[in-house]
Symmetry: C2
Subunit: 277 residues, 2 copies
DNA sequence: CACTATTTGTCCGTATGTATG
DNA sequence: TCATACATACGGACAAATAGT
């Protein structure tokens, strides 16, 4: 009895009802709960389901139609249009760090901001600098053929950053620049999370304000464990996803679980779907 | 010249202006751009920055204050209140799959829905079942001490799922149940992405509609490569983050990059911050 | 070819929320 | 606080296209 699960919208929220419903339906379609051409609930049905007026339900469907997720026709109902499969173009690399390099080489970059500034508390802590130390800060946009997919803010200790400038950053991946500065990169730690697009990044990433973004914060360190780069990346989830394979590894006689990241790769999907007319 | 970057709100969006501004300020505070007790822009300043009226700016600040992110006092301005550091409690496990098991054992689970149904197209494809095959579907909420942090929807082929029921699902992690059914788990593939909380999951995760969520879609397969479980998990990013360490590995004489996930772990942070009064 | 049921498209009037000055 | 403008949401009514009998 799936339909019995209480679907509800909340009138007290700042978001309009029609948009709440739109989001739910959109999720259902993207999650693959329908086949291409499937008939979905009409205006009257939706209105009953969500306990709203027909006009409100109608507007939610209109938003879906404006985005091209459904087609509507009088007397025929509302039908789901599945995107032309949008097969994820995967970077054919193995290994995560190699992948990071390959990404830097295969995509186009635009340098948005570049300056030297006093490290903010969080940045200083991550790079293990004393408060007040200077860092090089760069904001870059990364492009795929069909548009921007990532917004990267990088911090490098000024001592290292002085050895290259704007032009190098626009041409080469930062990891490569660091290596050429004599930094022996040992590894990295990263945290994957999610945020919303605010008014600064939304226009740059050509997405809507309040759209979900994948957020990856990474600290790269050299072989001595000294941090050399602090980067936070915001990614459009429709164009970039983090893919990895987990393999079970038997360790000795105990029936313990251990794991290993085997063929790890970030997949870049090229969906050309647009937001909000 | 960081402040010069054009901050703007979009009037064409369905979200009210005051709420857009609220989200921006909230992000800035959470991202650590201020220290505890820092003074932030007042009503007049905000109104100028975002090109809105003072009342609108005021309301954004009022929402922040209601959430406890700032304190406001006449004549003293608006000051940031940093959450009590909220140190992420890390699961002390090594290895990703082991981690998945440990998570299942250490956290509380509530079974929301449980039924058998015909596999939707995407589920059938992921589990390599022919269209129309039956699957066991379970929706679970996972709790930390301070509240829910993940919403999990799992699909298991009915042939396997018939061997356990509701009670087992509430007590044991699904991976353990599968093992006891004779399934030899070989590994998994997962994709990490981001979405928005819709009206179904938002109340369950005790978060706002439209809040960002980490989304992990995973297919677990046995040693023959046959899929045995399809799971999509939605996670509150303030309570659950995906942490991993990347290590550079020298492979032979070529100066190539290879990578390995070494001490991988998911960190669970216990922030007790509440949303929307 | 009706006739009908269904479903979308369009219109009205009204009440409330949002935002400005 | 007030007046104004616009968006949101409701209920109801009718027209137009489609599919089935």
């Amino acid at each position: 009895m799936r339909g019995a699960a209480a679907l509800a919208v909340d009138e007290r929220l700042p978001t309009p009802l029609y948009h709440q419903i739109y989001l739910i339906l959109r999720n259902q379609i993207i999650d693959g709960r329908h086949n291409d051409g499937d008939l979905i609930a009409g205006e009257e049905d939706l209105a009953r389901q969500f306990n709203v007026s027909r006009i409100t339900a109608r507007r939610a469907l209109a938003e879906l139609a404006a985005e091209g997720l459904v087609v509507r026709a009088r007397g025929r109902g509302t039908r789901v249009i599945k995107p032309p499969s949008a097969p994820p173009i995967r970077a054919n690399v193995e290994g995560l760090i190699e992948n990071l390099m390959a990404m830097g080489l295969k995509t186009q970059v635009k340098l948005i901001e570049f300056d030297y500034e006093i490290a903010s508390p969080d940045v200083a802590r991550a790079l293990k600098l004393e408060p007040g130390a200077e860092v090089q800060r760069a904001v870059r946009l990364r492009f795929l053929t069909d548009g921007p997919f990532s917004y990267l803010t990088t911090y490098v200790p000024a001592s290292i950053g002085r050895q290259f400038g704007r032009k190098e950053l626009e041409r080469e991946p930062l990891l490569g620049l660091l290596e050429r500065c004599g930094v022996k990169i040992g590894g990295a730690e990263q945290t994957i999370s999610a945020t919303l697009a605010d008014t600064r990044v939304a226009p740059l990433l050509q997405t809507a304000i309040g759209a979900p973004l994948l957020r990856i914060v990474r600290v790269v360190h050299d072989r001595e464990g000294l941090p050399v780069e602090y980067i936070t990346g915001l990614y459009r989830p429709d164009r970039y996803q983090y893919r990895m394979a987990l393999a079970r590894v038997e360790t000795g006689d105990r029936n313990t679980w251990s794991a290993n990241l085997d063929p790890a790769e970030a997949s870049v999907s090229s969906s050309n779907r647009e937001k909000r007319k």
